[in-house]
């Protein structure tokens, strides 16, 4: 039993925190909300130079072959700093499945470019139901000679507006079990027939509608096996989900610290408001819950890093992290009073991103259902 990170990992955390603090202050976060791309290419390249994109990519594909836990704490720091970037889409949602399921050719084609920060990838999975159920994948891929024709619409695709390639989940077969008959394609985002439109969202981030109007894709671009794509989605639903959880707990920790500092500084009735139990006990609850969520996330991440089945732990972590973060933001704003509602204060930046994190890779109810199944209910 060991609840500590290694010295190298602590160094990675410190350097990530320093870098993000300097490179992406909250003024930059605000600026990027109005930016069409939604990220800063210069920062992106610096991140690649630091080796972040290739952190868990093996050296033969241009990465540094680090551990999964390294990536966990890096995402925790990104979440803490709410870095606007297509890092999660590129690295967590797409490069990990390519590394696991890609052919040698696909790995050689994509991974070195990911590691160098030369390409951005996005996962096009959810459709009009906006859920992560296999039955809801309807975008049709029809074989035609050596190629497939893709026809349909994907919704809430993060970072499709800047992606060079899309990892697209399609329907290729209609069996009784909806999990059979799904095929994943790596599609050039500049292909004829693809139309991307950013959906306005609370955050605001870059969640897109992506239309596929008779898009031609070579069968060479299938990731994994035809009709076996759900296995890859399931892989994403564990590995990427826990990385999203890491982002969330990083953000919760930031909100806790921010609210706690404010409660010490803000004086009313001649005393810091943190000396009132109505405020102090809210913060105590926040600390209890943020600590709890953190260790749930670490446990699940550790299990994944050991290559063990971890559906139960991952789903527990996601359901818990979503709830804890929402509560932390709501209580945090309450502690800040009217200032918490103001655009000038950082806490609103965190609050407006609560829902995006919650709905990414399944909300609490979706994961509760997975937990229930895992418990044998």
């Amino acid at each position: 039993m060991d609840f500590s990170f290694t010295e190298e990992q602590e160094m990675l955390r410190t350097s990530a925190r320093d870098f993000l603090g300097k490179e992406c202050p909250k003024t930059k976060v605000r600026e990027l909300e109005a930016d069409e791309r939604g990220y800063h290419p210069q920062t992106w390249h610096k991140m690649a130079e630091l080796g972040w994109m290739g952190l868990v990519i093996p050296s033969e594909y241009g990465g540094t072959g680090g551990q999964f836990m390294d990536l966990v704490l890096l995402l925790e720091e990104m979440g803490r700093n709410i870095l606007p970037s297509p890092f999660f889409s590129t690295v967590a949602l797409c490069s990990l499945p390519i590394l696991e399921f890609g052919s040698k050719g696909q790995k050689e084609e994509f991974l070195p470019k990911v590691a160098k920060g030369e390409i951005i990838l996005a996962l096009a999975l959810t459709e009009s139901s906006a859920t992560y159920e296999a039955s809801e994948i309807r975008l049709r891929a029809t074989p035609k000679g050596e190629e497939y024709i893709l026809e349909g619409t994907k919704l809430f695709v993060n970072d499709a507006n800047v992606a060079n390639y899309l990892l697209v989940a399609t329907r290729t077969g209609d069996r009784e079990n909806p999990e059979e008959g799904i095929t994943l394609f790596l599609v050039d985002a500049t292909s004829r027939g693809i139309k991307v439109e950013v959906i306005p969202t609370t955050a605001p981030d870059k969640q897109c509608q992506v239309n596929f109007d008779k898009v031609t894709v070579s069968q060479q671009n299938i990731l994994g096996e035809v009709n076996q794509g759900w296995e890859i989605v399931e892989f994403i639903l564990q590995k990427a989900t826990i990385l999203k959880c890491a982002e969330i707990i990083g953000a919760s920790q930031a909100v806790l610290e921010m609210s706690n500092s404010y409660a010490k500084e803000r004086v009313q009735f001649g005393r810091p408001i943190g000396s009132f139990q109505a405020i102090q006990h809210k913060l105590a609850d926040m600390l209890i819950e943020v600590d709890g969520a953190k260790y749930l996330v670490y446990e699940a991440a550790w299990k994944i890093s050991q290559g063990r089945p971890s559906i139960l732990e991952v789903s527990m972590a996601k359901a818990k992290a979503c709830e804890v973060h929402q509560r932390a933001c709501l209580d945090g704003i309450q502690i800040h009073g009217a200032l918490g509602f103001s655009q000038d204060h950082d806490i609103g930046l965190y609050f407006r991103r609560v829902k995006a994190a919650e709905f990414a890779l399944g909300d609490a109810d979706f994961h509760r259902e997975r937990i229930a199944s895992e418990l044998g209910l």
């Binding site: 039993m1 060991d2 609840f3 500590s4 990170f5 836990m69 706690n260 409660a263 010490k264 005393r271 810091p272 943190g274 000396s275 009132f276 139990q277 102090q280 006990h281 913060l283 105590a284 609850d285 600390l287 209890i288 600590d291 709890g292 969520a293 260790y295 749930l296 670490y298 446990e299 991440a301 550790w302 299990k303 890093s305 732990e313 527990m316 359901a319 818990k320 109810d365 994961h367 509760r368 259902e369 937990i371 229930a372 418990l375 044998g376 209910l377």
Partner: protein, 401 residues
């Protein structure tokens, strides 16, 4: 990071499970702090305590010279978890001895005190049973407001006053007593001392206070010129407060893994019940509301496990946890309360029936849990006091009371 026990710990776990099979009646399951309530249960608990002592488990983490095994924190954690899960009785020797009197004496007791009292607790004999007397009619959360007086007279202290809400006082041979030695101290917490009192001393009257469901766990005591040898003062006179805070941290930390174990057991039982019980022609476990609630309870129980482990891990690194025991206690209370409510919702009307009625389900464990949950949120520091500790020492906020 590593979230796994070693082979040594897992071997111990198997041994404890064998012990459960051999020594406890099939399906036996006792809840926290209930063994004191009937003579029959108490006798059985003490018989098990003796067997646990014989195996060296009762006080396994203590140094060998005081009757322990020098076991690691993680072996102790596994033991605590299994004790909670199987509801092994007799493990705390009257709630205080194993959990905090022993660890406190090891940390700051005098050598003579260690040699005398620790082996008694470790033996599992009735002479090693302790109670803890802190609360008084006017000193609950405001612990430092105690009025019970200890006045030095030669080689003795003369104790006068009244204590209340004392668990297991009617079973205890010894009392871990907080008393006022300097009523004129500038700050009231600076005039408090900690004593070991023999419950057989003349002048002690113990009266039962029955819980709302009729169980006899707690008591009130009256001290009328009770003589305690001066050698029974723990630490220095008037400096008991800091020792008491440390003892309370041991007390709160002592709940962690055991509470996880017992909550986990009850959750497992309820899950099994939901799968086996039909409702409108389908198992209850198919009902989305039932699934949703049980999933939440499972998350909470797992969270309780992890924060309790984290506190132990900190201790294993030689760091004294400051706010963590309060965090774990406050969270454990919440987990227990929610599980109790969910349990009653799933068992429905049957959740009101205690064992051994033929209508009791799951041996009445949900009925007992629901009855006891409110007490859990008060004992050893109310949830509100725990949040004050977390605020002050975990978050660095100003004192709020």
């Amino acid at each position: 990071m590593d979230f796994e026990f070693g082979e040594k710990e897992e071997k111990l776990r198997r041994e404890i499970r064998n012990f459960v099979k051999e020594e406890l009646p099939p399906g036996y399951f006792s809840l926290v702090a209930e063994e004191e309530s009937s003579d029959e249960e108490w006798e059985f608990a003490m018989s098990i305590a003796k067997k646990l002592a014989k195996r060296g488990w009762l006080t396994m983490a203590w140094p060998k010279e005081y009757g322990g095994q020098g076991a690691s924190i993680w072996e102790q954690a596994v033991y605590g978890e299994e004790v909670g899960y199987w509801g092994i009785p007799g493990t705390s020797m009257g709630v205080s001895g194993v959990g905090w009197v022993g660890p406190s004496l090891i940390l700051f007791g005098g050598e003579e005190q260690r040699r005398k009292y620790l082996p008694l607790i470790a033996s599992g004999e009735p002479d090693g049973v302790w109670c803890t007397a802190y609360s008084e009619p006017n000193a609950g959360s405001d612990f430092a407001n105690i009025q019970t007086r200890a006045v030095r007279e030669g080689d003795e202290y003369i104790i006068n006053g009244q204590k209340t809400w004392t668990s297991a006082a009617h079973r205890a041979r010894w009392c871990w007593l907080a008393a006022k030695t300097d009523p004129d101290a500038a700050k009231k917490h600076r005039g408090i001392s900690l004593f070991i009192m023999d419950m057989k001393s003349p002048g002690i009257t113990v009266r039962p206070i029955l819980g709302y469901s009729g169980v006899h766990i707690i008591n009130e005591e009256f001290f009328d010129n009770v003589r305690v040898p001066a050698s029974n003062l723990v630490g220095e006179e008037n400096k008991g407060w800091y020792l008491l805070m440390q003892s309370l941290a041991f007390e709160r930390a002592s709940f962690g893994v055991g509470l996880y174990g017992s909550n986990r057991r009850i959750l497992d039982e309820i899950i099994k019940y939901a799968k086996e019980t039909q409702c409108r022609g389908k198992p209850l476990s198919c009902n989305p509301l039932v699934r949703h609630k049980l999933a939440d309870r499972a998350i909470e129980v797992e969270t309780l496990k992890l924060i309790s482990y984290q506190t132990l891990w900190k201790t294993s690194q030689g760091i004294v946890p400051v706010y963590e025991p309060s965090r774990d206690k406050a969270y454990g209370d919440l987990v227990m309360e929610r599980l109790a409510i969910t349990g009653t919702e799933i068992l429905g009307a049957y959740s009101q029936v205690p064992s051994p009625s033929k209508w009791a389900k799951l041996r009445g464990c949900v009925e007992r849990l629901y009855s006891f949950a409110p007490a859990m949120k008060i004992l050893s520091g109310t949830d509100e006091i725990e949040r004050c500790v977390i605020g002050q020492f975990g978050l660095g906020l100003p004192k709020s009371y």
